[in-house]
Amino acid sequence: MLQALEIIIPTALFVAAPLIFTALGGVLSERAGVVNIGLEGLMIIGAFVGIVFNLNFVDVFGSATPWLAILAAMVAAAIFSLLHAVASITFKADQVVSGVAINFLALGLTLFLVKNIYEKGQTDRISMSFNKMDVPILSDIPIIGKIFFSGGYITSYIAILAAVIVWYVVYKTPFGLRLRSVGEHPMAADTMGINVTKMRYIGVMLSGAFAGIGGAVYATIISRDFGHATISGQGFMALAAVIFGKWHPLGAMGAALFFGLAQGLSIIGGTIPFLKDIPTVYLLILPYVLTILALTGFIGRADAPKASGTPYEKGKR
């Protein structure tokens, strides 16, 4: 049993990191009142830029390459998310439809560019990624150290740290208060002198930045190349984590970890005695079914930010 945990928990952490980053982005966007179905597409942009940057600059930057690649992916996805922001905030497009368009566009554009640059359907594999590491001191704690702090990737720990920071920013700073007020009651916020449009743009671009990191982390650590199936559904999982986590940064992190656990189980289920007899299909659909059950009210009700999904029009009551 203990041995099983030593395999499952690190795998869960490893699979969850991209979901945590992306889900944090989702939280920020929805808190500002903009639904972002386009997280998937933003992750695609992040994964693409992360891999292409890594392949092109590995000779220049050496072991710093993965870090810079993630940074580049973050910037690129934040810029790309401007499309969603312009459409859904300025042009008052249906936010769900605009998000769907983002997903289509990201996939089409990246595959088009991959074919244009590499003249084949997917990129080469990257040679430089992150290494597994043990957290100093903490990994020496008996049992817990081995389960939680050995053989993990640094990105997993950063993801968890990021969730704590986002929680602090959203709930404990004036900026966070403004962001939330725009998502709950934009008219009241406007009356108080908060620039609704600006705050919403910031929310969407932050979601792009975080989803870009999520995509790049996924591509750098898990897939290690970029093709049409590199990101297939992780963005939607992150969106589910946002809702599962009740639009709360730490909740979203918890949900992402839980999904990571469920996916970890399906990846390594065959090697663990008490899971071996369960057909894989049950483990595969587990995260999705649990999300539906959770939404149906098994973990208590939670409401989305009130103004989420509705464009703000000045002077309209």
Binding site: A87, F91, V100, F104, L109, V281, T291, I292, L295
Partner: protein, 348 residues
């Protein structure tokens, strides 16, 4: 009123033109010749009878998934689960097609009906959860897509076949294949399903515009509260709408399962037909006739694009970009509307 009607027609056309122009710019920037690219696209749609046949084949499921998305839209629901409903419909149709030996007059309709029922069941779940627990249908339908993908894969592998990646072909009595269409289109996979798709479009128009139930469904779509006050059962209509929407999608799956492929195989990812249906519905303005036109546009673009790499060296993904941009422009029609109104004012 007159202006509105004229706008509804003008906006999709402007969006399509803008999408194509952006596509041309992207080709120019990335070093391709847009004229060669678009003429290869054109030739790939209309150049040979084979291409025309393949386009019609592609249009068939698009009409049905477009109807599925539009039907939900008209009642104020967004069904992203069309993809999953297509997958279960596809499996159900093929299952009936290989499990029974019946005369064609029973077998073929049975296979299509069962596919519709499977899709309807997949639509019922999010509809029920929305009506009963107020769970947002967008998230549930996304989740149901993945459940559909994994469950059908497991069923194909372990239940219908003995660990094979695809089933055998359906019996001819359940097949939509058409020798006549094959002969006139140089052996394309065009099949009789196109008639079913057109009948379905007519059914949707009739149901929504000419029946009391359709009026109720539309009323719920316009304003939940008003519909509720006037004594309509909003929850029942939400479920019914998702069930009908799912049934259209399930039949779209049957078109693939009984017509195009005649078998069902284990899938590594989604088919895309359901997601493209969102675009089709949007461009088609959620009306039956508009959807047929939009399906023809997207089917043509998809099939024509296959000709672009070989003839002009342009990756066929360009068309995906153009389609995405068209959705963007239609979604942002507020902007186009604003500009058009501005021009109109200045013209006076």
């Amino acid at each position: 009123m007159n202006l509105n009607r004229y706008m509804n027609l003008l906006i999709p056309i402007i969006a399509i033109i803008l999408g194509l122009v952006c596509g041309a710019i992207i080709m120019l920037v990335s070093g391709y010749d847009p004229i060669a690219g678009y003429s290869a696209l054109w030739y790939g749609i209309f150049g040979e009878s084979y291409y025309i046949g393949e386009t019609v084949r592609q249009v068939t499921p698009y009409i049905l998934t477009g109807l599925a998305v539009a039907f939900a839209f008209r009642t104020g629901l967004f069904n992203i689960g069309v993809e999953g409903q297509v997958i279960v419909g596809w499996l159900a149709a093929v299952w009936v097609g290989i499990a029974f030996e019946l005369p064609m007059i029973i077998h073929l309709p049975l296979a299509i009906i069962v596919a519709g029922l499977a899709g309807a069941l997949w639509g019922f779940i999010p509809g029920f959860l929305k009506a009963r627990f107020k769970v947002h249908e967008v998230i549930v339908t996304i989740m149901m897509n993945y459940v559909a993908l994994h469950v059908t894969n497991a069923l194909i592998r372990d239940v219908i076949t003995d660990n094979a990646d695809k089933t055998e072909k359906v019996f001819p009595s359940a097949s939509l294949r058409s020798e006549f269409f094959e002969n006139i289109t140089d052996f394309s996979r065009m099949h009789y399903g196109i008639f079913i798709a057109i009948i379905a479009a007519f059914l949707m128009w009739f149901l929504l515009e000419k029946t009391t139930k359709g009026y109720e469904l539309r009323a719920v779509g316009f304003n939940h509260d008003a519909a509720h006050y006037s004594g309509m059962n909003v929850n029942k209509n939400i479920i019914l709408s998702m069930v009908i929407s799912g049934a259209f999608a399930g039949v779209a799956g049957a078109m693939e399962g009984l017509g195009t492929f005649e078998y069902v195989s284990v899938k590594g990812g989604f088919t895309g037909i359901g997601f493209d249906g969102i675009a089709v519905a949007l461009i088609g303005g959620n009306t039956a006739i508009g959807i047929i036109l939009a399906a023809v546009l997207f089917g043509g673009l998809k099939i024509g694009a296959l000709n672009m790499p070989s003839e002009a060296g342009v990756p066929n993904e360009l068309v995906e970009i153009v389609i995405a941009l068209i959705i963007f422009f239609v979604a942002s029609s507020y902007f186009i509307r604003w500009i058009l109104l501005r021009f109109k004012k200045e013209g006076k």
